[in-house]
């Protein structure tokens, strides 16, 4: 039996090995983290200036409720992402607005991040995945709704460590780095995130996750009504 098991393992290896697409899918699944609430600190850096946002985030891994705590001028703004539906509550207007799906590709709070970066599945849906020297190389499917010509996803132990976006001329234009993964309740949560605009020096967005409380988030948090009332 002892001799048979390694042989069996070698024979089954091609079957058990994950395809590049499966690797990507698994890595993206892990990126979502467990159900939790936390405080996210978001630094939006521009040449010669930096702005800090503190956000309270509630998520069940699929849906996200996000409230701006600081700066004071923007406190009370709240966002809710329910799959393709995106809602925004603006306290100055006193109204909850449903944003069109195009809103998902817009920059978040004036940062370099988009909703897609935070919670999207575009990499999986719009690209064909191959693997080159341990790096997942994504090229757009024909007619895919992405402006990028190529995306490289660097994994470390199955977790996304770096995503590099290239334009259609082969030039790297955006770089997303994820790190300080914490294993929580059987899932992983990247506690640091950095996004750089490679075409504009000094344009950078950093995200740090703190005060994490793993566990069920009340269902009401994912209802648009509670954007105004608070979760």
């Amino acid at each position: 039996m002892r001799k048979v098991f390694p042989v069996l393992l070698i024979l089954l290896a091609p079957v058990l090995a994950q395809t590049p697409l499966e690797k990507l899918r698994t890595a993206l699944d892990r990126l979502r983290g467990p159900a939790h609430q936390a405080v996210y600190a978001l630094w939006v850096e521009r040449p010669g200036q930096s702005k800090l946002y503190r956000l309270k985030v509630y998520t069940d891994g699929e849906r996200v409720h996000l409230r701006v705590l600081e700066p004071k001028a923007e406190a009370g703004q709240a966002y809710l992402s329910l799959g393709q539906d995106l809602y925004l509550y603006d306290p100055r207007l006193g109204r909850t607005l449903r944003l069109p799906p195009t809103g998902r590709s817009e920059r978040f709070l004036g940062s370099d991040l988009t909703y897609q970066d935070l919670m999207g599945r575009d990499l999986e849906e719009l690209f064909q995945v191959a693997e080159e020297r341990g790096v997942l190389v994504l090229s757009p499917k024909p007619g895919a709704a992405t402006p990028y010509g190529r995306v490289e996803v660097h994994l470390k132990e199955g977790l996304v460590e770096r995503v590099l976006y290239f334009d259609q001329r082969g030039q790297a234009v955006r770089e997303l780095r994820l790190g300080a993964y914490q294993r929580l309740d059987g899932a992983y949560l990247p506690r640091e995130m950095e996004l750089k605009d490679l075409l504009r020096p000094g344009y950078r967005t950093r995200l740090e996750v703190s005060e994490v409380q793993v566990g069920g988030v009340p269902e009401r948090c994912f209802h648009p009504l509670y954007l105004e009332r608070g979760c």
Partner: protein, 394 residues
């Protein structure tokens, strides 16, 4: 005839005065011709830009779409247009969309067109400066300046997103039409792609009709279209630039009238002085048998002749100027600057003045006005002439 000869001799006798008067009339005539030609040329360039590039000579859509141009208010089926002046018809689907390149995100109006149908209707397909016009689905043609802003090139992919769907389209051509809306904001894609992005069939029908008949055909079509549909001519399809054009006319045409009145007053005031100096001469003429009304007529004729000389010279100069500016792109630099300042206006980079014989009639108004005023003021001096007093003074 003798009255004309007498008047002509008086005009020629005071050559310097006549020359000065004519100069005023020349100036006003040239200004009148030029301003009318410029305004008409501006109007024609707007009509051409909107009929041939930005919109269409006539467009047919649901009344609800005219009120709120959302694809949801688009056409449910394509109506048949029966009018002898309709030369071509093509469906279009316009929708606001986000355009995303790796470098920039920009919102704009996207026009879904039938690539072949559009060729018979618009000049845009013929103005592709780089690449080619649309042939199939999955392609997009952009205005050159928009492509520069988005930093996309022919052969690259551009993402077009609406509230309902998103498509990655290959840029196959860049348009350089010399019309601001097209070059700065033009996005043309296959009608079927626009349908996939919106779920609508078409928002309107673009209709080609002969130049100058747009309004009449639109009215005639509106009467025969099924309920809920309405046709609009090119003037009704223009944006705020139409108000600018109409405002210019409202401002400049009364101003021209004022110019002409001032010129006529200048002629008449000089004639008045001339008549005052020649009162004895008129008294002698009256004593020899000429009636006061004939003498007053002579005064009016003198004013008309003096301004007539200026009119003839002014017409020659004015039409020469109009001919030159209607055949040479004199206003190109000015228009290009306007296009840069007002890219959403639909202005063309070229403006040629119009040249119409009717302008001569308007300009001749100064002659008529001079004669009329001369009859009213210096003429009254002659009518009230006390012949014995002037004869005694002699």
């Amino acid at each position: 005839m003798s009255l004309l000869r007498l008047a002509w001799r008086s005009v020629l006798r005071q050559r310097r005065r006549t020359a000065l008067l004519s100069l005023v009339v020349v100036y006003v005539t040239v200004a009148t011709l030029f301003l009318l030609g410029f305004l008409d040329g501006y109007g024609e360039s707007l009509v051409e830009a909107y009929a041939e590039y930005v919109e269409a000579p006539v467009a047919v859509a649901q009344e609800a779409w005219w009120a709120d141009p959302d694809p949801e208010h688009g056409l449910k089926s394509l109506p048949t247009l029966a009018h002898p002046l309709v030369q071509a018809v093509s469906p279009r689907l316009s929708v606001y969309a986000l355009l995303r390149s790796p470098y920039r995100l920009e919102g704009g109006l996207v026009l879904g067109v039938d690539p072949e149908g559009e060729k018979g209707l618009s000049r845009v397909p013929a103005k592709v400066a780089e690449g080619r016009w649309l042939r199939a689905r999955g392609e997009v043609v952009l205005g050159q300046r928009l492509a520069e802003r988005l930093d996309v090139r022919v052969g690259e992919r551009l993402v077009v997103e609406t509230g309902k769907a998103a498509l990655g389209l290959e840029v196959v051509g860049l348009v350089r039409a010399g019309v601001s809306n097209v070059d700065f904001f033009g996005v043309y894609l296959h009608l079927e792609d626009a349908q996939a992005l919106t779920g609508a069939l078409a928002t309107h029908l673009a209709v080609k009709v002969p130049r100058g008949r747009e309004g009449a055909v639109a009215q005639a079509l509106s009467r025969t279209l099924p309920p809920g549909l309405q046709a609009k001519g090119v003037w009704d399809l223009m944006g705020p630039i139409r108000a600018d054009y109409e405002g210019s006319r409202l401002l400049y045409i009364p101003l021209l009238g004022l110019f002409m009145l001032l010129a006529a007053i200048a002629v008449v005031s000089t004639t008045y002085v001339s008549v005052r100096e020649r009162l004895r001469e008129f008294a002698v003429a009256e004593s020899l048998g000429l009636t006061p009304w004939r003498l007053a007529g002579q005064v009016a004729l003198e004013a008309a002749l003096a301004s007539g000389v200026g009119l003839v010279l002014g017409l020659l100069l004015g039409y020469a100027l109009l001919w030159y500016t209607s055949t040479h792109d004199v206003f190109g630099p000015l228009m290009r600057m306007s296009v840069e300042l007002l890219p959403e206006s639909g202005l063309s980079e070229h403006l040629y003045t119009a040249l119409r014989p009717a302008y001569a009639l308007y300009a001749a108004g100064v002659v008529g006005l001079s004669a009329l005023l001369a009859l009213l003021f210096p003429g009254r001096l002659v009518l009230a002439l006390e012949v014995p007093r002037y004869l005694k003074e002699g």
